[in-house]
């Protein structure tokens, strides 16, 4: 138990989500046709094969090390880099397979001394993506952005949480960079004014207390992080289409965006009033 406060994020029982990280599931879903054997090596004194996986973006790479004796993974590594120099690397190793694990390890009751950072995970993070659209349009006086991509979302983080003017030109920071750097810079007074207005709207109060404001800033950052992650999955394999240019929040007959359902049997459509409908066909180019 560490000193002071720690956080438990717990997830209610429910349907598995593609956003729920489970290393074993990830390995099982690997498509052999996307893999290239790039070499052999030794890892911890044992011979391994190294595979590289084709990725949608050249700036991202995935590698897998497989023990040639056991035929099981011993290491995986995912790397993503941006043009402006940010590098994210996630590596998993030190596997122990089929160890006895007590059910108590997965008890959703927070351990003593930990506070709950989030009480419930949505089935997927669609809810957070919609919340992200609500936050961003609130910061832009009800207007949805002209484009939707990771750099535009970087601007959203800077506008909503970083105090940047709503119509300032994009700085080029990706969403990931904006999220990782926003607490490195002291927010200007304008930031507090905007975040206070957004917090007041979310809470339904005229003037949130300082404590409420602090909690809301944390919650808003978490929502944006999850919403951005969900958006990332939509752009890679769900055919995401943005139609929000020129749409104002509340325009129930205007399509803001849509994407294919996970099952591939229809389309999830978000309208200007931020309601979600599932349709068998993609919306027409004419709008709704």
């Amino acid at each position: 138990m560490p000193d002071g406060e720690a956080t438990v994020i717990q997830t209610q029982e429910g349907a598995a989500s593609p956003n729920t990280p489970n290393v074993m599931d990830m390995f099982r879903r690997l498509d052999p046709k996307s893999a290239t054997l790039i070499g052999q090596d030794e890892l911890n004194g044992r011979p391994v094969q190294i595979y590289a996986f084709a990725h949608a973006l050249a700036s991202q790479s995935d590698k897998l090390w497989v023990d040639m004796g056991s035929g099981l993974p011993v290491r995986s590594e995912y790397t993503a880099s941006s043009g402006s120099g940010t590098v994210v690397r996630v590596s998993v190793d030190g596997f122990v397979w089929n160890p006895p694990l007590d059910d108590g390890l997965f008890d959703l009751t927070p351990p003593e001394g930990y506070r709950v950072g989030r009480e419930a995970e949505t089935v997927d993070n669609q809810t957070d993506f919609i919340a992200l659209l609500r936050l961003w349009s609130s910061a832009r006086e009800g207007r949805f952005p002209e484009v939707m991509n990771m750099k535009a979302l970087g601007q959203a983080v800077q506008v909503v949480l970083g105090g940047a003017p709503a119509d300032a030109p994009p700085t080029g920071l990706s969403a990931l960079e904006a999220l990782t750097q926003r607490e490195k810079v002291a927010p200007p007074p304008a930031d507090l004014n905007r975040i206070e207005a957004i917090a007041a709207e979310r809470l339904g109060v005229a003037e949130p207390s300082l404590e409420q404001l602090q909690q809301e800033i944390t919650a808003i950052g978490e929502v944006m992080g999850r919403g951005i992650g969900f958006f990332g999955t939509l752009t890679i394999n769900r055919g995401f289409v943005w139609r929000g240019a020129g749409v104002r929040r509340g325009q129930a007959d205007r399509v803001v965006c849509f994407w294919q359902t996970e099952e591939g049997d229809g389309f999830r459509v978000i309208y200007g009033d931020l309601r979600v409908e599932t349709t068998p066909q993609a919306p027409s180019d004419a709008g709704s």
């Binding site: 995912y78 030190g94 059910d103 997965f106 992080g225």
Partner: protein
């Protein structure tokens, strides 16, 4: 202290994106055998390391994952500034 949000959020983004692999027409390899071996696995424990490097920023989070199928994952992440436990249960 709690793990600061930006790193946790960024890690969530990274893990989310990392879980997607797309067909790329590469050489067919024996990964099917790996996956067949994994079918015999029902629990696992491993280390995870997430590092972020950017201009003026370098942070690393170390942790462990414990997985018990179906659908349960416990992650314990530790950085220089704190600890976070994530417990996931997505059994239907």
């Amino acid at each position: 202290m709690r793990l600061t949000l930006p790193l946790a959020a960024a890690a969530a983004v990274a893990v989310s994106v990392a879980s997607l692999f797309l067909p790329g027409g590469g050489v067919s390899v024996a990964l099917a055998d790996v996956q067949q071996r994994l079918a015999e696995i029902h629990t696992a424990q491993c280390r995870i390391t997430i590092s972020l490097q950017s201009v003026g920023l370098s942070e690393t989070v170390h942790g462990t994952l414990q997985i018990k199928e179906p659908g349960r994952v416990r992650g314990t992440l530790q950085s220089a500034i704190g600890e976070m436990i994530t417990i996931t249960d997505v059994r239907k």
